[in-house]
Amino acid sequence: MANLISRAFGGLNEVRRGLATVFKHTFREPITKNYPDEMPDLAPHFRGRLALTVNPETGDHLCISCKQCERVCPDKCIEITSHKSPETNKLELIDFKIDHGLCMFCGLCTEVCPTLCIINTNDFEMADYSRESLIYDLKKLTLSQDESAFYFDRKEMPLPKPKPAKPAPAAAGAAPAAVAAKPAAVPSVAAPGADAKPETEAPEAKAPADSKTVEVKKPEVKAEVKEESKPEAKPEAKAETKTDEPKADEPKADEPKA
């Protein structure tokens, strides 16, 4: 009997201690966040949406169509279309498609990429209404120059070496001009973008890029793809894109040698 009573009191006391411990949590700050209002603080190496970078200094597209990522992808969700340019005898990128509905964000493609072109961004909000819209093409994938700068900085990736200005006869005149124009133009555009909105930059910058795609007419020739893609990705820097155009051709010309 005494045993029973002491056990009963012991049990009740344990329950009381449990209740008190739970009640103590009244005064602890919640650990959850109001997600859509405040973005989570993601690690730099977070494996989110895949994207293609451009050279943050010059704006050249970094993809060299080596197809390493296409080969390594366990889901086979990457599809690269390229062709060999008859003049320069180089591979030229025509289209780059990633099916984000199929991708499992393992990050293997980013590991094998020799030019640090394909990266995992910190963006994870890709919900959409159809499977087809989850297939991202080159335009949707390519980041703008300041976004690329942001990610190169954040992931502590070495900056790609700027292409030695090849005096390819046609572009020779334009190239020096572009180089001259760059230092002035880049800080003015890239710096505020990267500083002001570090977290939400990618999604926000994506929206204008998408809307722009409608206006831009479909590129028929390989070389133009890149020229087109840049204006959309960086709508505010219209003047700058002009100077980019000649440069965009150049890296392709150099690739086989590099």
Binding site: H25, T26, F27, E29, P30, I31, N34
Partner: protein
């Protein structure tokens, strides 16, 4: 300590807003139907309105309850979710409306608009009838409580019964039938097991529950809820929780009666002192017994076996959806509220102020405030506010929702019993204990003057 001050502030604000809203609405309905309309009719029609007025006055409490239950259930669900969120270091519902105030209202709308599915092979009539039968007792079971919780307000006095607690308990025992019906009619084995479990559980736990309440009735010498409340008036020492009037002597001694006052209460010397102590202990045990039994009766954790989610999916309401499920849901929370109200009325002195009047009346400002309210236009002419009822109701609200929050805290902490352990606990522990308490109270009461 208060790193969470923001959330606590939000939750208090939400509670105050909702409570003010609920009780204003309910009281305005009551006032309009029971006071303003009859006054108007009498002015206009004179004696001819007498019959209409009678009918209106009789209908008022029921209508008040019908208005009160859904809004209150919404608030209770919301406060439960917010409180659980607070205790689990989360934020809780905060998207719909300011502070998430309208979350449960939105949920209710969703539930009402959902498709109502009757599973194949189910007994459609019983399936439909079960939620109604589950819900109805909580409506008419609450009626006699109204007078008790409003300090015998003239508007609700009509429906007070001399056998109030008996009626409430009888009504509270009915939903079991509905649960068995729901379980049987669903054509689902989980539901069936859930229904049968609830029957077994309710029958076993009814006994300690009723015995613990009988102890209180024994103390009071009546079954009338209003009388039980009135007897407990006069501060926390008079509450049934603390032995009813067993400590009255102490009370009086505090008030200045001194040794003489003690002597009148404990007239038989040492025996009376011992008995007073026994009474206090027994009634605290009785209070605990009632809480336990009530938790089992209304299927709250740790006794939520009929709807044990991890075992029986959702028990008797597995196959319910839409409106029918909403009614089950509504009735469950209403039952929680009713059980808390009964506890308040039976053990916690109803609308009584825990601070004894001789202390309260000496606090400067309070008597003047009461007098000012009594003299105000609202009170004297429109009869909107009745100071006796007003403060009593405020205390009832505080106590009842305190108990509700405590139930939520229990829900956040304790795991669930197993059915055989539950039965063993009920039959081997609670029932003997409640009988012992009952017998102690029967004898101890003879030696102590309780309730004056």
């Amino acid at each position: 300590m208060f790193s969470n001050g923001d959330e606590i502030f939000k939750i208090s604000r939400l509670t105050i807003v909702w409570l003010a809203g609920i009780f204003t609405i309910v009281w305005m309905v009551c006032w309009a139907l029971g006071i303003a309309l009859p006054m108007l009719l009498t002015q206009q029609l004179g004696d001819k309105a007498a019959l209409t007025n009678e009918i209106l006055r009789a209908a008022t409490p029921v209508i008040a309850i019908l208005v009160f239950i859904p809004i209150n259930a919404m608030f209770m669900v919301l406060i439960e979710r917010r409180a659980l969120a607070l205790w689990t270091v989360r934020k809780g519902p905060n998207r719909v409306g300011p502070d998430g105030n309208f979350q449960t209202a939105a949920d209710a709308v969703k539930l009402l608009l959902k498709e109502d599915i009757t599973p194949t092979g189910a007994d459609a009539v019983m399936h439909t009838f079960a939620p109604i039968l589950f819900f109805a007792p909580s409506v008419f079971g609450a009626v006699p409580l109204l007078a008790a919780v409003t300090n015998n307000h003239p508007l609700f006095r009509v429906l007070n019964l001399p056998t109030g607690i008996f009626f409430v308990l009888a009504a509270g025992a009915l939903p079991v039938v509905a649960l068995v019906m729901a379980g049987w009619a669903s054509n689902n084995k989980y539901s069936l097991v859930g229904g049968l479990r609830s029957a077994a559980q309710a029958i076993s736990y009814e006994i300690p529950l009723v015995l613990s309440l009988i102890t209180v009735c024994l103390m009071a010498g009546t079954l009338d809820l209003v009388k039980i409340t009135e007897q407990q008036a006069g501060g926390i020492l008079n509450w049934n929780l603390l032995g009813g009037g067993a400590l009255t002597g102490l009370n009086n001694a505090l008030a200045g009666g001194g040794a003489k006052a003690l002597a009148t209460s404990y007239f038989m010397g040492p025996i009376s002192y011992v008995c007073a102590g026994l009474l206090v202990i027994s009634l605290i045990i009785s209070f605990w017994l009632y809480l336990t039994g009530a938790c089992a009766e209304i299927n709250r954790i740790p006794f939520d076996l009929p709807e044990a989610e991890s075992e029986l999916v959702s028990g008797y309401n597995t196959e319910y959806s839409g409106m029918k499920f909403a009614i089950f849901f509504l009735a469950e929370f209403t039952n929680l509220f009713i059980v808390s109200s009964i506890t308040t009325v039976m053990f916690l002195g109803g609308g009584d102020n825990p601070i004894p009047p001789y202390i309260l009346n000496n606090i400067p400002g309070i008597p003047q405030m009461v007098a000012a309210i009594r003299d105000s236009y609202f009170c004297s002419t429109l009869h909107i506010i009745n100071p006796e009822t007003f403060f009593a109701t405020l205390w009832v609200i505080a106590k009842v929702y305190g108990l509700v929050i405590f139930a939520v805290l229990i829900r956040g902490t304790l795991p669930r019993f197993r059915i055989d352990q539950l039965m063993a606990f009920g039959w081997k522990r609670l029932i003997p204990l409640s009988l012992i308490v009952f017998i102690i109270v029967v004898f101890a009461r003879e030696f102590v003057i309780c309730h004056g």
